[in-house]
Every structure is written in C-alpha cells, then in structure tokens.
C-alpha cells in the first residue's frame, strides 16, 4: 500500500506526425487513469520530456483531480513533472527503485526506452499495461507487460474506458470501416492476381 502509479509516454515530440497520434491517444487514457487515481487517493506520477506534451498532460491531470474534488492532492511540480530529454532515463530508473512503483502504464509512441523502463518496473514487481503503435516494439511490450493493447487498440482505449455511449458506438463504426478495408484489400489482391488493373481510376486527377 502507498506505492505509486506511474504513467509513462515514451517519445512525445508532438511536431512529429508518427508520434503525435499515439501520444494524443495516450492522453485520452491519461484523463481516465488520473481521475481513477485521484478518486482512490493513489499516488500518481507522470514524467514527460517535452514541453508541449508536458503542458497538455499537466492540464489533463489537473482537470481530472479537479473533477474528483481532490485538487489538494495535485502537486503542480510533482504529479506531472518535466524532465529534460537525456536526464529523464536515469531519473525514472532511480525513482522506480526508490519509490517501488506498484503500477506502470506504458502508452504512446515507444522506442528503446520501453525496454529500459519496463525492465525496471518488472524488477519492482509493478503491474504493467503496455500499448504502442511502434511496430518493432509491440512484440516486446506484449511479452513483458501483464496487460497489453496492441496497435490500433491504443486509439480505441480512450473511447472504451470513457464508457460514453457516443464514443463507444464510434468504435463499432470504426469496426465497420475495417470490414470495408478488408473487403477492399481482398478485392485488390484478387484483381491484381487476375491481372486486372484499376490504375486508370487513379489517373483521373482526383
């Protein structure tokens, strides 16, 4: 009891499109997680190494504590902390040991840091939830984390945990889109195999 929960993002450079999308998806889940942590009185810690992401996360977590009437538990300097890139690794590793992290979320765009942080959280016996869209790190997070969200599940997670009817129903709509994509892929594969080209369709200039 009394051990903290950490919410880690990985790379958070919001000016890079491939990092922006998973980070925004992780922000959606952060809102829910921070609110649950505030409600239960759990120690919550969000370290970030990028200024823009830091200001956004800080605002999200503050609003979550405010919504649960626990604003006194929100420390603007400690709950969400800015750590300069480079120094963040050793700070996180050191404090994971020191504070004996009990739970850790690894959501967002993860590269090699995933290996470092998850290993240290695993050594402390933390329960881990991992999810990324970075394809070369998905197998690693699936293997090491107790629970994992794979690929596009990261984007659906925020809508799923919100328990909002409209958001959840949009996931059903997204699944229908997937079926259309599967049909299109299969049709394309069959047409290409049969030697039928539809390239004239794309040469119309639209």
């Amino acid at each position: 009891m009394g051990r903290p929960v950490w919410y880690l993002f990985g790379s958070t450079d919001l000016t890079t499109p491939s990092i922006l999308a998973p980070t925004i998806a992780a922000f959606q889940t952060l809102s829910y997680t921070a609110r649950v942590a505030a409600r239960l009185g759990a120690k919550f810690f969000v370290p970030l190494n990028q200024g823009l992401a830091y200001t956004m996360a800080s605002d999200i977590v503050r609003e979550a504590y405010l919504a649960e009437n626990k604003l006194e538990d929100f420390d603007p300097l400690k709950t969400v902390m800015y750590l300069p890139a480079g120094a963040d690794r050793m700070y996180i590793i050191n404090h994971m040991w020191e504070e004996q992290v009990a739970g850790a979320f690894f959501l967002g765009s993860w590269y090699h840091e995933a290996v470092i942080y998850t290993e240290n959280a695993a050594r402390e016996g933390a329960v881990m939830l991992g999810g990324t869209d970075t394809t070369h790190n998905i197998p690693f997070l699936v293997a090491i984390c107790d629970y994992s969200v794979i690929g596009e599940e990261l984007y659906a997670l925020g809508a799923y945990v919100s328990q909002d009817v409209l958001q959840s129903s949009s996931l059903a709509g997204q699944d229908v889109g997937k079926y259309f994509a599967i049909i299109a892929i299969l049709t394309g594969a069959v047409l290409v195999t049969a030697g039928i080209s539809l390239s004239w369709l794309f040469a119309l200039g639209w």
Binding site: G51, E63, E119, G151
Partner: protein, 217 residues
Amino acid sequence: MSNRLAKISLPIWLTTIFGILMIIEFFFSMPKIVTDTNTLLRSWVTIVSAAALILGTLILTIAHVKRAYERKTGWYYSLIYIGSFVVAGALGLISVRETNFMWIFNNMTSPIGAALYSLTAFTITSAAFRVFRARNWKATVMLVTGFIVLMMLLPVGAAIFPPIVPIGEWIRSFPSSAGFRGMIIGISLGTIGLGVRIFLGRQKEHLGIREEKKEAS
C-alpha cells in the same frame, strides 16, 4: 463568452477547423490562401513548441529552487542544477557559437549523455533475458524465432548450420512482413477513427476536457 464556449466548444472548433485545413491540402490542390495559411500555422506550431519548452524549463527550475530552499532530501543536487542552468544559460545567451558554451556542450553534455545511454545496456540485457523466457507457448514462439533470426544475422550461425540463413530470411520476408503490414493497416484505420472522433468533438480528453459520462438508457 460563456464558460462552456471558452473551455469546451472553442478548443474543439479550433481543432476541427485547423485539422481539416491541414488534411485537405494533402489530398486536393488548394488555392494559395489555404496553402499560405497552412504554412503560417506550421510556423505557429514551432513557436508554440518553443514557448512550451521555455515553460517546462521554468517549472523545472522553480521545482529545484523550491527543493533547495526547503532543504529537502537531495537538495544539493538541486544546487548543481541551478548552477549549471545559470552558467550554461548565461553563456548561451551571449552566443550559442561562443567557445565556452560549445566547450560545455562538447566536453560535458555530450559525454554525460553518452555515459547515461551506455548504462542502459545492462538493463537491456536483463530485459532481453526476461522477455525471452519460455513462460508460455507465445513466449516460446518469440524465443525460437528470435533465436533463428539472431543466428541468421551472426556469421557464426551460418558457419554452424547453413540452412539457418534461408529459414531466417523466410521468417523475415513472410510471417514477419505479413504481421507488420496487418498491424500497420490496423493502426492507420485506428488513427483515422481517432481523428474523426476528435474532429467531431466526441473525444476531447486530450484538451483537458472531461464532461460527465452519459449513462446508457
């Protein structure tokens, strides 16, 4: 301006309008006014990011000053931070190309960064050991395929067992590629889904907005 308009509606509308402006330029040829607006918006992103970096640095400095002032555990480390910040900041303000500033960067910042990175090699080794344990059949599949691909890439692998090379190549070219492509298609569709939800204002938690949930009837 009502509170709801300022805190909820306006950020959502701004996200939607600017998002759509960026997307349509990618798919269609647009008039000059749209492309100019988008160029301006992209430069705003750089400025806002820089401003956020300054804000982050200020908050970090305040945290360290507070810790040093209150003599909390490890307060002397905060003093080192404050000293480094003042010296490097002052030299950087004089000129980032100035010899002293570059000396700090080349002889202190870079080696310290490299040393910190190199320390993680030990963690990565033990993480590899943890991941590649055959705890269940899924982990066993990962262990076996990882071992085959590793042996394929190592010169000693081909020397000991030559067929390991075509087997490894086959794993990389077919099951691995198929899995990755499926994953990338799924991720792309998920990104589109998230984008649509954000543009429609259905998902707004990333703006720090969380309205009470609507219960299903």
